[in-house]
């Protein structure tokens, strides 16, 4: 009986705190992405003009580790029984990747373009209840920031 109560408390805590945190995070991500509309990050290596005058170049990297809440992990555990898309984890990985790209762009504020963007995700740590479920995800985004000489 006690275990069931603890479980219910954790689930509710996970659900409420998790949903609030996720909405706040998405709002922050959307706001910051609109600041960086002038700094494109492309996955190709040769997006510059032939005669572009380059002032400097350097590698930029952004990384974040995001954890999932108890309620979502419970949902995903149920999914494991029936198969299909695990939508609860999709938002986790999406948040982590977008946050990593934003942090990378924040390191290259006055650059003109970021070339050869690469994003890598890996799972970190185990969950609190020691089962095989995923605990948290690390996403890194890196690319080459190019600063062109100012014209005029």
């Amino acid at each position: 009986m006690e275990q069931l109560i603890i479980f219910a408390v954790l689930i509710t805590l996970g659900y409420t705190a998790g949903t609030i945190a996720e909405r706040k995070h998405y709002r922050s991500i959307n706001a910051r992405e609109s600041n960086f509309l002038n700094l494109p990050a492309v996955t190709v290596k040769n997006a510059l003009d032939e005669d572009a005058e380059i002032e400097k170049v350097h590698l930029v990297l952004g990384s974040v580790v995001v954890s999932i809440d108890y309620f979502k992990r419970f949902l995903a555990g149920l999914r494991n029984l029936f198969g299909g898309e695990v939508k609860s984890y999709e938002t986790l990985v999406d948040r982590a990747r977008r946050e990593a790209v934003l942090r990378m762009k924040e390191k290259a504020e006055r650059a003109n373009i970021i070339l050869n963007l690469r994003i890598e995700t890996s799972s970190i740590g185990q969950s609190a209840n020691k089962r095989q479920a995923l605990g948290s995800v690390e996403a890194i985004a890196y690319g080459t920031a190019v600063y062109l000489k100012k014209k005029g």
Partner: protein, 104 residues
């Protein structure tokens, strides 16, 4: 020392190649951080402790790679790639590798 993850340094030409250079760090987690992470696993959200830990390890691996390139006489590293993998219970290895070159 310039680092890029494309096959050249834009605006400069490569005059000499020194081959592969790499740096790696294996870091184990901290008990205190792990307890915090355990709590965060209930409510979700960013694990700042782990983010900083991995960020510092990555910086250290990059510095080791730069040091190796400097000893070869290079002044730039092109085609830099990162890799993370877990090697033991609670420890992960951060590996950075690239091609050391000299540019003018």
């Amino acid at each position: 020392m310039v680092l890029t993850n494309i096959e050249s340094v834009p605006g400069k030409t490569i005059v000499e190649h020194f081959g592969l250079v790499s740096g790696s760090t294996v870091r184990a987690k901290h008990v205190g951080r792990d307890i915090m992470a355990g709590l965060k696993n209930i409510v979700g959200g960013e694990l700042k402790g782990y983010t900083e830990l991995l960020h510092d390890s990555r910086k250290q691996s990059t510095e080791r790679m730069i040091e190796q390139a400097r000893q070869l006489g290079a002044n730039a590293i092109i085609n830099v790639r990162f890799a993370t993998s877990s090697v033991a219970q609670g420890a992960s290895e951060l590996y950075v590798y690239g091609t050391a070159v000299r540019v003018q």
